[in-house]
Amino acid sequence: MIRDITIGQYYPAKSCIHRLDPRVKIVSTLLFLISLFVQNSLLGYAAATVFLGGVIRASRVPLKFIVKGLKAVVMLLMFTVVMQLFLTKGGDVLADFRIFEITEKGLRTAVFMAVRLIYLIIGSSIMTFTTTPNALTDGMESLLRPLNRFQVPVHEVAMMMSIALRFIPILLEETDKIMKAQIARGADLESGNIIQRTKAMVPILVPLFVSAFRRANDLAMAMESRCYNGGENRTRMKPLVYKTGDYMAYAVTVIYLTATFVLGRFVPFHLWIF
């Protein structure tokens, strides 16, 4: 029942994007997101479309999945677009509703804001679709390591993150089981007013918390008995190492960035958005 949430989910497949070092994917995604917000020419967006399309193809994640992820944020998207449409002023007036009017500039900004947001969501979900949560935190830890100098406990934070991520599916599964067990004992979770429904959650939440604490306890014990005591002097079983493919991926990203920059700077004026 609860298991059908797809946002931020990993999509297992064998593709060159899946195989990339997580650091490459994090850095490239960040650069891509930034590029979306600094450029404002039509050709720049064309380049972004080509880049994103190419990555989607290469990742072998079905388009259906990517679109499913968009559905979750469709409300936010609509809201932003509508706000932009009515509140941005400038250029010719296209439609006049007395209280508000739609201007040429408003329309353009709204359309491009929508494109930006959609690309932003697709871009970041490609990263989570192709990278396991554990690989992501490993990549983050490795990228943020320089912050150690400023007394930021990078390893500890990364470890907490990966444990939390690891436990999300386990707790969801547990919730599912406990819900079923209580329904089998005649618990009614669906009907009644808000107070009755809240009360009906008790038989689910108590066992869930008990089990979460039990698991936390077991995990702590297991980590301690393997002499875990934080990040200092800790080495990895599988250190992150850049391979040829990773350098090539960086190269592709750099080419894309250069292309958008050049296109943004030197295209004829009438192709500009604002």
Partner: protein, 287 residues
């Protein structure tokens, strides 16, 4: 009074990357009062199958009849089905939540809308049926031993007075003594109440001496279905799917291969011992 499954298929997370065809064209009928064992390797679909019996999972295709009525028809009373088909999940102690054992066992009957008095009568009856010691009634369920917790949880389902009791691996994680105690108790329960009892296990040894019928699941399909001795006679096929017949089956077949004319269909150690000593007697007499 029976449960009938016709061509049941079940697919988890249909249409996603994690799609899993967990039940494939399963058909079977379980008459009222039977003591049935469902056996299969981990992941063979046992738990998925039994969750269909009380409508917790709805088949992707196929039909399920309880007492001749199709439970997938519109307006079928699932709540009443759930109180008639009691399902005890694996590790049922993970569902305990009340401040004391007795109140927890009352949860089921309370949900059935019974009076407080009636709930208490049923809770007491259920706790007695599973052999739960009275001195622990008012203890917190979280302070009990593993075996006692499990008894309390089984009582929680029994208190609803189901006509069919389904137990998913009731012995998982118990020590050998706790395991035998629980199984003996369940067998006794079946004898006393005339309930249909469906016992899920991944160990032949566990259920061989209790049940009158064994259903073997393999990779989501029903592989074998019959009386224990009949099922065990397919011991080579069972081995191929990672299950084993009870050890006595191997001994009897071994003896037979070496030329001692014993019957090979004994299912328990006692039966086998009797058969062997009988045959030896016979052979001596003929020397």
């Amino acid at each position: 009074m029976s449960i009938r499954l016709e061509h049941i298929n079940y697919i988890y997370s249909q249409g996603s990357a994690y799609e899993k065809h967990a039940l494939k064209d399963v058909s079977l009928e379980i008459p009222q009062g039977q003591f049935v064992g469902i056996i299969g390797h981990t992941g063979s679909g046992k738990s998925t199958l039994i969750q269909h019996l009380n409508g917790l999972l709805i088949a992707s295709s196929g039909a399920l009849y309880y007492n001749g009525q199709n439970i997938y028809q519109d307006k079928y009373d699932m709540k009443s089905l759930r109180s008639q088909v009691g399902l005890v999940f694996q590790y049922p102690e993970h569902q305990l939540f009340e401040v004391d054992v007795f109140t927890d066992v009352c949860f089921g009957p309370k949900n059935q809308g019974l009076s407080k008095q009636e709930c208490e009568i049923r809770a007491k009856e259920a706790l007695e049926l599973v052999g739960f010691p009275e001195k622990h009634y008012s203890q917190s369920p979280f302070e009990l031993s593993g075996g006692q917790k499990r008894r309390a949880a089984i009582a929680g389902v029994l208190a609803m007075r189901p006509k069919v009791l389904v137990l998913d691996e009731p012995t998982a994680g118990l020590d050998p003594k706790g395991r035998d105690d629980i199984l003996d108790q369940i067998a006794q329960l079946h004898g006393q109440t005339g309930m249909t009892v469906i016992l899920v296990s991944h160990s032949m040894e566990d259920i061989a001496r209790y049940v009158e019928r064994i259903i073997v699941m393999n990779k989501g399909t029903k592989m074998l279905d019959g009386a224990p001795r009949e099922v065990f006679s397919h011991y080579r096929e069972l081995e191929q799917v990672g299950l084993a017949a009870p050890q006595v089956t191997y001994i009897m077949h071994g003896l037979k291969e070496r030329g001692i004319d014993v019957r090979t269909d004994a299912t328990t150690v006692e039966e086998a011992a009797e058969e062997i000593s009988g045959t030896l007697h016979f052979l001596r007499g003929h020397r």
